[in-house]
């Protein structure tokens, strides 16, 4: 392997990992508040279709991204209303949201199949893009990739060092205790759900506006589910979400690269690596009861009823 090839692999790794990273950051914040939203795939698809339609009709990618996020937020609010106000089961509601989003996006987008747009172009940063190996990987990408770096930093800071982040975690660990000391449990959870929706919408928009600038039914092809697995893989740590997303990105392109180079590795084996890794992490986490209790937010998936 020469330097060029490594540069290209690293570049593609970040690009492939970016939608996963964005969704996973949103879901991580959501789960930290104790809410498990399995509707990522549906929210992504809604973001993808709305973003695409808006960008195609208005010619503005920025507007496309913004409304993609809005679409994700609206979808997440449906989930929020059902699980928070009506205290419906979060797993069932999340699954329903995915099925609903998949169908609705196909319905809305049926007239927009087969129409091309000009996608987001990479933005080179003078001096930095030309650095060997890491130049293109970190500084030869498009704006959304740079934004994902910023988002990672912001979420890292928010969860690990900020006071609101502490409130978020308190609500996710023990909403009743949080409520007793006067923390706004419902509001915190709503905000977390909305943030998750916005991120899923943004990642969906990234797919249809930058990654492959087109709309096709079900184009997210399971990336929302991978992001959900990623949060578990990362054992709810922000830093590991970044590593995991990029690692998943690397694993999913490596088998393509190896085939092109003619390495005699089974492409099927390489394709299952990311999923295998998730299963292994799950096994390790759950092998130790204390540890598994410590990493996941205590009240994850449990509805909260305010008492008194």
């Amino acid at each position: 392997m020469d330097i060029d090839l490594i540069t290209n692999i690293l570049y593609a790794m970040i690009r492939t990992g970016t939608p996963l990273l964005i969704v996973a950051l949103g879901e991580l914040v959501c789960e930290k508040s104790g809410v498990l939203n399995l509707g990522q795939e549906g929210m992504m698809l809604m973001g993808a279709v709305i973003g695409f339609i808006v960008a195609l009709t208005t010619g503005s990618l920025l507007l496309g991204f913004l409304l993609a996020m809005l679409a994700g937020v609206l979808m997440s609010l449906i989930f929020g209303l059902i699980t928070m106000e009506l205290s419906a089961n979060q797993v069932a509601s999340g699954l329903a949201l995915t099925i609903f989003g998949t169908g609705l996006s196909a319905f809305i987008g049926s007239d927009f199949v087969g129409k091309p747009i000009t996608g987001l172009d990479p933005v080179f940063i003078a001096g930095l893009t030309d650095l060997p190996i890491v130049g293109r990987m970190l500084f030869g990408q498009d704006l959304v990739v740079y934004l994902s770096f910023l988002l990672f930093g912001a979420v890292y800071w928010f969860i690990n060092t900020s006071r609101p982040g502490l409130i978020l975690k308190a609500v996710g660990e023990n909403p009743h205790a949080a409520n007793a000391i006067g923390l706004p449990v419902m509001k915190t959870r709503y905000l977390a759900i909305i943030f998750g929706g916005a991120m899923a919408g943004l990642a969906g928009g990234y797919l249809s506006l930058a990654y492959t600038p087109l709309w096709a039914e079900n184009m997210s092809a399971g990336r929302g589910w991978i992001a959900l697995a990623l949060v578990v893989f990362a054992s709810w740590k922000v830093g590991r979400v970044l590593l995991g997303a990029w690692l998943f990105g690397l694993a999913s392109i490596l088998h393509l690269v190896f085939q092109g180079l003619g390495f005699a590795v089974s492409p099927n084996l390489l394709a299952i690596l990311p999923y295998l890794a998730t299963v292994v992490v799950l096994v390790i986490l759950s092998s130790n009861q204390t540890r598994s209790r410590l990493v996941a937010p205590m009240s994850l998936g449990k509805p909260f009823y305010a008492k008194g």
Binding site: D4, L5, N8, I9, A12, T16, P19, A106, G109, S110, V113, G114, K115, P116, G119, L207, Y211, T212, P213, L214, A216, E217, N218, M219, A221, R223, S252, I253, L256, V257, Q259, G260, L261, G262, A264, S266, P267, N268, A271
Partner: protein, 362 residues
């Protein structure tokens, strides 16, 4: 139409004369109800999309005389049987089932509705009222392989493949046979993505190929993502199933398009005129089922001219991609000089021809 009305009259007479007169006057104005069952969404811009384009051309051709219904996203298996049964039950007289996995469900329902005509795409089982149809995509691939062999500068041609089934292996072979004949120095790089449709992955595969020097990309997957990726990086690509020129005006060499319209129109005609018989329809360029709508302007004139000659030759039978001698990867003679592989043999093709360096994934 007259013949059909007459038959209805005869059928009706056996049931009761008075009722017949009544039903005849009603049925004469009744459109022929035609049902379509798709395995994917019509929004895939690929396989199911093209079948639906065929359905639309039936509507355009016959207007009020037909009424078409389609059901998309039908899972292969028991679900399909229910969908096909419902179509037959609700008065559809002609039903097209458009995926391999619909084969047994179609036959089961056909037994219960002997007066309904069924046509099943890509299968091999027939019955009194069940015919099959398939198009010979390899003809288009052979032409695409020729054009690719002429425009490549790096002599590296990429092929994004879906699943290692005979249909896909056969088409890869058609391309390699073209390369063997027109540019033996060109190397075919094959990447399996294990999916018919995943735009992100198809784009990744295209990019991985271009990183390795590939400058022409062919695909046996359904999204135009590879075309877009090629456009971005100044490479060439060949569209699959539907016309993908709008996704890469500069990159788009040509598209190998499935046109189901002519077959659907012929079949509807045959059913209306009561001339329909169960047949295994294998249709290609000659019948207008495989079409190359346009060539990129940047392709040299003599290359386009020869490609047109190839198409003409395929149409009149003088050119056949799988004519001997054909050796397999190991150099063994599989098809002797002068022999031609039959369609039945092509349907079972599970070996690579000489010149392909990689192995078929197990």
């Amino acid at each position: 139409m007259k013949r059909r009305q007459f038959n209805k009259l005869v059928a009706g007479l056996t049931a009761g004369v008075c009722m017949t007169a009544l039903s005849l006057s009603v049925q004469a104005a009744d459109p022929l109800k035609v049902g379509f069952v798709y395995v994917g969404p019509i929004g895939d811009h690929g396989w199911s999309y093209q079948h639906d384009q065929g359905r639309l051309s039936v509507e355009a051709e016959f207007g009020d005389k037909v009424k078409t219904t389609y059901v998309e996203n039908v899972a292969e298996g028991a679900d399909a049987q229910r969908v096909i049964y419902n179509l037959a039950k609700t008065g559809h007289e002609l039903i097209f089932t458009t995926s391999f996995g619909f084969m047994n469900p179609t036959l089961k329902v056909a037994k219960q509705f002997p007066n309904v005509v069924f046509e099943h795409a890509t299968g091999y089982k027939m019955a009194k009222n069940v015919g099959t149809y398939i198009s010979t995509t390899f003809e288009g691939r052979y032409v695409a392989g020729y054009v690719a062999s002429q425009v490549t500068k790096s002599n590296k041609i990429g092929y994004i493949a879906s699943f290692p089934i005979p249909e896909v292996i056969r088409d890869i072979n058609a391309v390699q046979l073209s390369l063997n004949k027109y540019n033996p120095d060109a190397e075919l790089k094959i990447i399996w993505v294990n999916s018919w449709f995943d735009p992100g992955k198809e784009a990744d595969a295209a990019n991985a190929m271009m990183d390795q020097g590939v400058d022409v990309i062919l695909q046996h997957t359904d999204s135009p993502a590879a075309m877009q990726a090629a456009e971005r990086r100044g490479a060439y690509a060949v569209g699959q199933a539907s016309d993908m020129s709008s996704f890469g005006p500069k990159a788009h060499l040509l598209s190998v398009v499935d046109e189901w319209g002519p077959h659907y129109i012929n079949t509807v005609n045959a059913v209306m005129n009561d001339t329909w018989k169960p047949k295994a329809n294998v249709e290609g360029m000659k019948e207008g089922a495989i079409v190359i709508p346009s060539f990129n302007e940047s392709i040299p004139g003599d290359v386009i001219a020869h490609a047109e000659e190839l198409i003409a030759g395929i149409k009149d039978g003088s050119v056949y991609p799988f004519a001997g001698p054909i050796k397999n990867k190991a150099g063994q003679l599989m098809v002797p000089e002068g022999a031609r592989m039959t369609y039945a043999e092509l349907e079972k093709m599970n070996w690579y021809v000489e010149g392909i360096e990689s192995d078929i994934p197990q």
